[in-house]
Amino acid sequence: MPKELLKGNIAIAEAAVRAGMQAYFGYPITPQTELLEYLSARMPELGRTFLQAESEIAAIHMVYGAACTGVRAMTSTSSPGYSLMQEGLSYIAASDLPCVVVNMMRGGPGLGNIQPSQGDYFQMTRSAGHGDYHPIVLAPASVQEAIDFTLLAFTLAEQYRHLVILAADGQVGQMMEPAELPPLLPVAEERPVWALTGARGRGKNIISSLHLRAEEEEIANQRIQARLLTICANEQRSTEYATDDAELLVIGFGTAGRIAYSAVEAARAKGLKVGLLRPQTLYPFPEDRLSRLARQMRSCLVVEMNAGQMIEDVRLAVAGRIPVRFYGRMGGMVPMPDDVLTAIEEAYALHAAVV
């Protein structure tokens, strides 16, 4: 398929359509609304389900209902809307249902603004709603990755019968870049055996996250935790640049990671032995790779568009072996490569101080 100039929001929407998404329920909220608008025409065109709900709360529960019937269902939102969806996400995860949710993060907290931000890291990787579980969280840094990770999201969601969140930010959604869309997959006709389709010729199917007896609830939790173990073992994803002989490792995801790439390039041009690790999965965090890289590094510099959240996962993986420093911008401010380069140089200089 040829490359096209695509806007992130549109690319994600069309990628989902081509991945066989059958039902989309959403609600307008900048900076992801074009995704919804695009689907409002595209989905009916293919005879698929599109509905703008009365709220993000209603939207996620419509997705929950659709997921119960075994269709590929998705919603997209942005930080405040994502907060409203938390209870629904917990029910979906607790019910072992495949589901994809796009969170196009924006400046916060509170009403915040519509600039790109990464302030929801914790609310995606740690607590997407109440209870013990983590969704799989994918973090694209380009329109092409947004497309690829949308497909991957549906694949992983069904493979693990798990909730997958596409953690983008306003920039990924709003920018246009050449990118290649996959071929159009037909909608799956077959519904999974567990799906609610009407008890014809079989016993009834029940999908419920209610386990009043603690023994059963623990078993349900153990099932989720076992799934997470497998996910952590198999699905850690990251990409690197110039790490072979690096002594300082810059770590950043999404847009922050992409900007850090330019800064690392500039630092390399100045002869600094700097490398970049860009996590592509935020959960499972690429701790194995980072842990190995930490052995050769003298320090890490985490770059984020928040007050420092992923840095906690970095610290866990580095386990105190080397210093972990931070450069971040908040409130929807997007760091400039030069600012990151300055932070790199400062961190690098501290290496010399330590004999």
Binding site: A58, H61, M62, V63, G65, Y91, T197, S208
Partner: protein
């Protein structure tokens, strides 16, 4: 003196029995709670319409939280108040299925008020069984939006005061004003005559969905002996003397097509 019959005689045939769509298991409802009657009527309607294999039931959070255990149909559990949204997602993914939400007054009229309003406004082709017993039963009898003025509950110990918590919510009246509503009626379960009327209404509401006409809801005035502090029989009396005056029974919106279905039944 005649020995009391232990077994039906040969000439006798069964004329009334446990409906097939109702599960064999026992329910957790309190003795005399009319949720049980609502369940039985819904199951009877499903049997008579021959739609058991097409039904998908969306259970609420509240006393009926286990509703999906009690019907021999595919079922799921909605978050509190969200059954109409969940049912929308299901119906739009499976238009051939008959999607029913079964909800209490806390679930539908309080936390879920927006969801039921918009499902009706969209004319969602689902059927809602709305059990109104004027309290939050499962959590121990707190005031609900449908609690009566002056009604003492565990969260309105001095009796509900309009100056503090406003006025009872009349959901049939509210939803009947929406164009998307096709069949909005209120019935009661407090005696045999009214139970039979409620059965007809439930059957018609399901026919409305089968014909794809639009949104249907049957509100059922229901008892809560435990939290009203009354015996089952007294509670039936309380419906008649207290609830019905506040929530008049009747048809609040029945379109012509729905009327035709009602007669055909």
């Amino acid at each position: 003196m005649m020995q009391a019959l232990r077994e039906p005689t040969a000439e006798m045939e069964v004329i009334y029995q446990h409906p097939a769509a109702l599960s064999e298991c026992r329910t957790h409802y309190c003795p005399g709670c009319t949720h049980g009657i609502a369940h039985r009527l819904l199951a009877e309607a499903i049997d008579e319409l021959g739609i058991r294999e097409r039904v998908i039931l969306v259970a609420p959070v509240g006393c009926a939280v286990f509703a999906y255990e009690y019907f021999e149909v595919d079922g799921c559990e909605a978050a509190h108040g969200r059954a109409p949204a969940m049912a929308t997602g299901i119906k739009r993914s499976c238009p051939e299925n008959l999607v029913i939400t079964y909800q209490g007054d806390g679930d539908l009229a309080s936390i879920g008020a927006a969801e039921i309003l918009h499902a009706a406004a969209r004319g969602e082709r689902i059927t809602t069984i709305f059990v109104n017993n004027a309290v939050y039963g499962m959590t121990g009898g707190q005031m609900a939006p449908t609690s009566l003025l002056g009604q003492k509950t565990t969260s309105s110990p001095a009796g509900r005061m309009a100056t503090l918590t406003g006025y009872p919510l009349h959901m049939c009246e509210l939803l009947s004003g929406l164009q998307g509503s096709t069949y909005i009626v209120r019935r009661s379960l407090h005696d045999v005559r009214h139970i039979r009327q409620a059965k007809k209404a439930i059957t018609t509401a399901l026919r409305v969905q089968m014909a794809g006409l639009g949104f249907g809801m049957v509100e059922l005035l229901s008892s809560c002996p435990t939290n009203w502090g009354l015996t089952p029989e007294q509670a039936m009396g309380w419906i008649e003397t207290k609830l019905i005056p506040q929530y008049p029974l009747g048809d609040y919106k029945v379109t012509d097509e729905a009327k035709a279905l009602e007669k055909a039944g």
